[in-house]
Amino acid sequence: MRAAVIVFPGSNCDRDLAVAFRDAGCSVDMVWHKDTALPDGVDIVGIPGGFSFGDYLRCGAIAANSPICSEVKAHAERGGYVLGVCNGFQVLTETGLLPGALLRNAGLKYICRAVPLVVGTTNSVYTNGYAVGQEIGIPIAHHDGNYTASDEVVSELTAEDRIAFRYGDNPNGSTGDIAGILSANRRVLGMMPHPERAADENHGGTDGKALFASLTSALAAA
């Protein structure tokens, strides 16, 4: 299995994400945002957390228009897998690969702590290692994680079982407690919490590990 982790100026969770992919059995290439092609044979593209381009204009807006992002879009449109975490989720909404947008947290504060998440669906390679309704602890670290989307989009996400994770105790005002969503083909996942920060005993929790494990076992079987 091959993973590519995109690196923007201001990414700061790129290496953590690479470690999580590697520990789950992937070979990992780091790909600079100015590159115009993904490495051959990439199965999963990871868009990491951080502050790409200093969050200028809007979080993820400038990154979404960088050269590599048209390749990431093409990869997703071919049915490739994409995982966007935190700033990566913001980039995915800005590219239009996922619906909605992330606004400033309702309480206006940057929040950095582990929060309870409730697994919304097991119908994806990312979540089939969990059980529906299972509560897991995953850290969040964001200022703009307040998910918003029109009522129609939220009902569509709900009806199509595309809400991967909900907050157990909504920390940021997100519509419908939404913490992570899937694309219509269920291969693109965007989430504000950081599973790669809960993937090793030394992190203080390993609830994120199942996400990477189920992803790589699905890719290996494909």
Binding site: L57, A61, N65, T93, A101, L103, T148
Partner: protein, 76 residues
């Protein structure tokens, strides 16, 4: 030529920053401030003859996120 783009959160999209500013104004003793919406202004220095359509394209592609924001173009 110059153009000024005003970007605002759409009506109906919650604006927590505007709400915090409204609170702060109340704290300073300014009564009767019923609503505050905060947006941004982007000034562009452009080659003469740049069409409004081109500027609209800039807004749609980058300057505004039309999922949550509306924009207005003012040609100076």
């Amino acid at each position: 030529m110059k153009a000024r783009v005003h970007v605002m959160l759409k009506d109906g999209v919650l604006d927590p920053q505007g709400e915090a500013v409204r609170h702060a104004l109340g704290g300073l003793g300014f009564g009767g401030v019923e609503k505050v919406r905060q947006g941004k202004v982007i000034e562009l220095d452009l080659a003469d003859g740049t069409s409004e359509d081109t500027i609209r394209d800039m807004c749609e592609k980058l300057l505004a996120n039309t999922v949550i924001e509306s924009y207005q173009i003012e040609l100076a």
